[in-house]
Point group: C2
Chain length 153, copies 2
Amino acid sequence: MTEAKPISDIEAHLGYWLRTVSNAVSQSFARSVEAEGVTVAEWVFLRMLYDVEGIAPSQLAERMGMTKGAISKLADRLVDKELVSRDAKADGQRGQMLMLKPAARQLVPRLAALADQNNTMFFGTLSPEERDELERLLRLIARERGLSDIPTT
Amino acid sequence: MTEAKPISDIEAHLGYWLRTVSNAVSQSFARSVEAEGVTVAEWVFLRMLYDVEGIAPSQLAERMGMTKGAISKLADRLVDKELVSRDAKADGQRGQMLMLKPAARQLVPRLAALADQNNTMFFGTLSPEERDELERLLRLIARERGLSDIPTT
DNA sequence: TATTGTTATACTCTATAACTATA
DNA sequence: TATAGTTATAGAGTATAACAATA
């Protein structure tokens, strides 16, 4: 029989569980918003636009940690769905302006409710203190590693 | 100006940060194992096979939370790379047997080292107690939601 | 004939890089 | 002529479902 050399994976576990739980949460959420006709990435896109008057694709790309190309494609879909408008910036400014259309302003709160529902399903078993701690640790890592420091609130 | 109705997203935050951090960890790890010629999913696949003598594709699919089709495709790639063997089960048993080839037995510990390195990079700023707590909370959620209760160790 | 596995199809996500438009 | 954005290409991941093989 082949000897399985034991691998020290105390730390590897953390990455493993993080990925496992995150994927499950995202997949579940994807199913839940599917009925509203959007994907998870589209939800994040819309959610970000909800809090601002308008934003340039390049800026959104930075905030979402995606490339210009990816944002462009996402924007295409959302424009097709009549949820987002894409206009040239005013006067002497170069570039574009992405904005939510009225339909999306109504949609986002519904999606947010689904997000809450989904999160309750997964994190509801944790105590409020545990949830706070989990969020604190995740934000800590995000900040340390320079990940999007978007408030999102 | 458009009124941005405030959305209660205390809980939505948790899912958001979870996804953000998890994606960053996975992407970073993907880059790191790319040099060894494997993807993250392939790493998980190989890691699972490392601890067993052999396993049926169907069983692996269940453990990895993937469909048969996805496992089949993954297995194809790994067989092409000469890292995994795919043989009919012995005697009267139906189905197949996936096993690591010797090259993979040497590879997995190297990948595990990269995983440790990657995890240290992301979780190293947390104290040991915080890391334990993070893992405890993630495992708790995974168990509650019936996610793969694989020890992985 | 169930069960196991493969193949075909399709879509999202992501990245890179070449290309276009314009202030 | 930089900069902003689009388009083309490609590969990974995932899912569904039709199909094949076999104990």
